[in-house]
């Protein structure tokens, strides 16, 4: 009997086609979304940069050739997205803003380090802090980086480095070598960053 027809079957009749209806497709989408985890939402209020994190922004000038390139080998599914906020709102990346990391580690290399190469070739370490080792990281990191005087305006290259084991900066330097590229010990993701002129 027709009482047995579901809304989805009736919708197929109303469409005039012997194919899935709008209701079918919407039902599928809802089931897909139920199985699809979103990345952790940004909670802008949580981005007050801890003093310790700000203090961890340490300049460490390394003998890094500026033309060093990052190859795709080993990049896998790692990803790094950068954005800037000021207070709780999105903002241009300029002195006084906070640089926010959105990290997607590859499954086999969950430990995360980050640094930037400034326009003058100097390296600015973000994490790990001096004397510490990298920690696991995923999603939007609670601790951003305050863009202070060590970040003069210009074009930067920000590097996210993923490793299978916790590493200190010296170990990371050794693993990265001069190439600063993905290899059998590290997965490297490179992102451009332009720090604009602005007042702190």
């Amino acid at each position: 009997m027709s009482e047995g027809l579901s809304d989805r079957e009736l919708a197929r009749l109303l469409s005039g086609r012997d194919s899935p209806s709008a209701l079918d497709k919407e039902a599928v989408f809802e089931r897909v979304m139920a199985e699809t985890p979103a990345r952790r939402r940004r909670r802008w209020a949580a981005f007050a940069v801890p003093l310790a994190a700000a203090a961890a922004v340490v300049l460490a000038v390394l003998a890094v050739p500026r033309e060093a390139a990052f190859g795709p080998k080993g990049a896998g599914l790692a990803n790094l997205e950068l954005s800037c906020v000021r207070g709780e709102a999105p903002a241009p990346c300029a002195p006084g803003a906070t640089l926010v990391f959105d990290v997607t580690p590859p499954a086999e290399r969950p430990y995360f380090a980050a640094f930037a190469r400034r326009p003058d070739g100097a390296i600015v370490w973000y994490r790990p802090a001096p004397g510490e080792r990298t920690a696991r990281a995923s999603g939007v990191l609670e601790a951003g980086v305050h863009l202070g005087p060590e970040h003069p305006p210009g074009r930067y290259a920000v590097f996210g480095v993923f490793t299978a084991e916790p590493m200190a900066r010296a170990e990371l330097r050794a693993a990265l070598g001069d190439e600063l590229a993905s290899n059998d010990r590290v997965t490297v993701v490179r992102r451009p960053l332009e720090v604009r002129e602005g007042r702190p």
């Binding site: 027809l5 009749l13 194919s19 709008a22 079918d24 497709k25 699809t36 990803n79």
Partner: protein, 205 residues
């Protein structure tokens, strides 16, 4: 539905973050391609995978394709440079081949390695399998549905055209008809329950 991830940076960013609005746009833009692939089958090399006549089986596979395609790893793995449709079709084909193998059905080697390239345009190769035969019950139901619609108000007919024929979302329908969300829900209920009662009165199916 336009959702070009290679051209729309904001959409790509939202997609990678797993934002519902972005995923819905991508889904709506591509769901018909995926369903069509499962209904008609596809060719890969010299092998051909037959399509499925069972709509619900197509929908189950379609659901699994999008669950796989929208996973954080797959979202991060899409480079945003190549068209998304072929990327999605590869996921669909590989999933289907995996299922066929798991069910014990033989899949030729030519169809078993749907790789990453190189030419997006030639990925589909959907075979021209004939449409499933329309049975007599379906014909009677279609005729009764047309008779039902002919008796309905212009407003309800417009709603049915927008919502079910053109497959617009409830929100798009309310914007097009300039009515409230509540009115759209009422019209949807009227269309479905009205058709159900109309068919029941005629002893259908």
């Amino acid at each position: 539905v336009s959702a070009d991830l290679t051209q729309d940076r904001a959409l790509l960013d939202g997609f990678r973050r797993g934002e519902r609005a972005a995923l819905e746009r991508v889904y709506r833009a591509h769901v018909d391609e995926v369903i069509r692939l499962f209904r008609h089958g596809f060719v890969s090399g010299e092998a051909r995978v037959q399509g499925l006549a069972d709509l619900d089986a197509c929908l189950d596979l379609t659901q699994d394709v999008f669950i796989r395609a929208f996973s954080p790893r797959a979202r991060a793995g899409y480079d945003g440079l190549r068209p998304y449709g072929p990327y999605l079709a590869r996921i669909a084909k590989n999933l289907w081949i995996d299922r066929l193998r798991a069910s014990g059905r033989e899949v030729s080697l030519a169809a078993a390695a749907v790789d990453d390239g190189p030419a997006p345009e030639d990925h589909i190769g959907i075979s021209e399998a004939p449409e499933p035969e329309v049975d007599l019950d379906r014909r009677r139901l279609d005729e009764a549905t047309r008779a039902f619609l002919a008796t309905q108000s212009e407003e309800l007919q417009t709603f049915v055209r927008l919502r079910f024929v053109e497959e617009r979302s409830q929100y798009e329908v309310l914007e097009a008809m300039k009515v409230t969300r509540r009115r759209v829900r009422t019209l949807e209920k009227q269309a479905l329950s009205g058709l159900r009662a109309f068919l029941a009165d005629r002893g259908l199916p």
